[in-house]
Symmetry: D2
Subunit: 247 residues, 4 copies
């Protein structure tokens, strides 16, 4: 099979730089253009005969860039944040006619996506659950976005399974953390950590712990590459790496 | 709804005793007979108008007991080990005509079943995986049955996903453990442990760890009760708690 | 060497029952009396020619029992809580003349005592530290007494080392837990847990985690037996198992 | 107080580069020279009026460099490996007369040094112990040097405490790992790991786990800086960071 010809847009950002390296290192891909804000990535993609465009830019241009990608006949892998659910639905309709697909994903760390999925599945049959997320002290928000998302997925899974959300023991006491969608979330901030999360589920006489540890931004790249490989093979829009991993 | 009337067969064994306690404690069940080896559990079930029979006896009578349960109109939940794949298929055919179902399960710990399932799913997309199982020093076998089963499920999932099994780094060196179906398995034996297992999956820049900790035999009971509740509602044979949790 | 002759006072309580079993199982000891509230344990010790008295009773009689033990010529191992620092100092003076010693210890779990000691030592050279304690949902207090004690020991060690206590990042935000003596403490409550604590220390590019897991009350017994063996060999008063382990 | 004037020798190696960055970032230090193999670091130290020389070079010149540092009046912090016990003793004698000290340390990760120390202390009172070390798959040796050192320190501590080394359960079986000085050592190798070790100690009803996680080479720097700060204040030779942390 021929190499997939890839354009990276936002190539000077932190994620963009990693993507450039990852595409260059992938045996089945070839980097044909690395564009930044001032560059016309659509023009670059056309003149290079690209198969796929990866976009890691900024929320303010997310929607515009998505539309511009759809004007090309390239697959699109979009990690830029800022899409509303409405935006995604609009794009989904427009993407149906395309030969190549569009992936919009808020998180490309395969392990984190698996953790969230497994936590939600397990919560249907193990009654108690708490989340501990651990990050470096420079992280400005607490709890992390991943912890909030995990709690939301757990609550959704419990509701679908017809389980009421029990009020956590000791709710409101300081050491019990923040209750998010009925789930206690604890945020640890320590020098020497990067990005970690553990979901602990409890049942009679047993616990199940699902933990994701990240030690570098390289952890996002297998998810990006998987997105590229899948999107060149299919039409339509896919939201969330999750959907690719478990279909 | 009326209470489910349950007979426990093998009620003096370790699992049987726990089941008796668990059924007595369950709000939607009623223990109508606790039989041991010398007792005729079929007769007991009939005269008590039982809805379900739980069997935790010995491999030598596993098949016979399964057949005898099928002569009644009770649901069956069988934790006795010793069934071959052939045995299960024979029983499956016979169970199809029944109004209530038969569950045969080698492991009733919901958390362990989830761990095995999640490990196999994750192994399709995270390339490296090793298993550490940790038990009290009185455990006679190493690796544990659960570790062997986990490795087999991982290998099966990788094969289905078209992934070759890579030879583990340092295979054959003593500290690298035992290679089971292409997966390094490490067995820890320490006073103060009961039964624990951690599956660690590695990918670029990240790891995903799935850990199950058991602190008492009570951990098997939610699985047994789930089996009872489900089997009174359906016909046919179900093999593995797994199938109930993820259908 | 002859067996140590032991009286257990408070033999019907939970700790007392465990002590009775542990003394009976110890090869170098012999249980000569098991007393409860109504019994005169001093008389029992004398008539049985006891070498040591273990006391697990209630705070209201702690001081009185300690004094009564000191009237005998037995060693004393006291796990009853309720002693003030003043009480201990008073008893220390009186104990100096004795041939056999008196141990007063609030916690007999050797692993927990080690964890607290190590955490305090490490905090002198690793700048960041947080505590996660995890218990069954039936535990009424949060944080646990052990977590409070650990935080106090850490603060004391930092002060001795001339380190100021930095204000924890995000202090006061709900997911950051309760700040105790300058240390963030997080309390997890889940079915399937018994009693666990992890102290995580962070430094540049690294973390050190010290974790204690308890799976049964039997965990306190090696500390009690160690106390008996040491106290029959020496005079004076010892406060805290800690002092025996590290002298 | 004036800044400590530091020469880094071996400044182009991986550890040397990190040291250069760390010294530059330290508020109480000033980098006055960064030398590599071809440079005369002694001359550089003299002409810059240096207070301390850090040496991360190669085993073949370790002893020679140590002697050359001792000809200056600088403190020395030596991370180069290759010193025999005999070498160290020879240098110790010569170092006694010096005003500033010499530190020779095989491992500068404070957390790893603490882990080894705590594991050895705990092994005196908790009977069972196993070591799990986890590294990236590129690591050529198994078990790691740190694991071997930890096992040796544990064995030494047990012997001093008069404890025999029990034969590990299941010794010789593949999943039980390699027995080093009576301690089972398990080596895990997975993409996504960097350098990690967990020592698990078991006693009746409880376990104590001591774990060190490294996520970057920066983890060695606080130990190097501590060495510089201490060695400018004292004469003599110190072997092992350990000795500085616990004196």
């Amino acid at each position: 099979m021929e190499n997939i010809r890839v354009v990276v847009n936002g190539a000077k950002g932190r994620m963009g730089q990693e993507t450039v390296k990852a595409v260059e290192a992938a045996e089945d891909m070839r980097l044909v253009a690395a564009c930044d804000l001032a560059d016309d990535f659509v023009e670059a993609a056309r003149s290079a005969g690209a198969d796929a465009i990866v976009d890691f830019t900024v929320p303010s241009v997310a929607m515009e860039n998505a539309r511009r990608i759809m004007e090309t006949d390239c697959a699109g892998v979009i990690g830029t944040t800022g899409f509303t659910a409405e935006d995604v639905e609009k794009l989904r309709g427009e993407a149906e006619r395309r030969e190549k697909g569009i992936l919009i994903a808020p998180n490309f760390a395969i392990g984190a996506v698996l953790m969230m999925r497994f936590a939600a599945e397990a919560a249907r049959v193990m009654p108690d659950v708490e989340i501990i997320e651990l990050h470096h002290p420079g992280k400005v928000d607490a709890p992390s976005g991943t912890a909030l998302k995990t709690a939301a997925l757990i609550a959704e899974a419990k509701e679908k399974a017809g389980l009421g959300t029990a009020k956590p023991v000791g709710e409101g006491q300081a050491p019990r953390g923040m209750v998010v969608d009925g789930v206690c979330v604890h945020s640890v901030r320590l020098t020497g950590l990067l990005a970690h999360q553990e979901v602990i589920l409890g049942g009679e006489g047993q616990t199940l712990s699902i933990r994701h540890d990240t030690i570098s931004r390289a952890s996002f790249m297998p998810g990006v590459l998987l997105g590229i490989r899948e999107m060149v093979k299919r039409g339509g829009l896919v939201y969330g790496l999750d959907s690719l991993l478990f279909e």
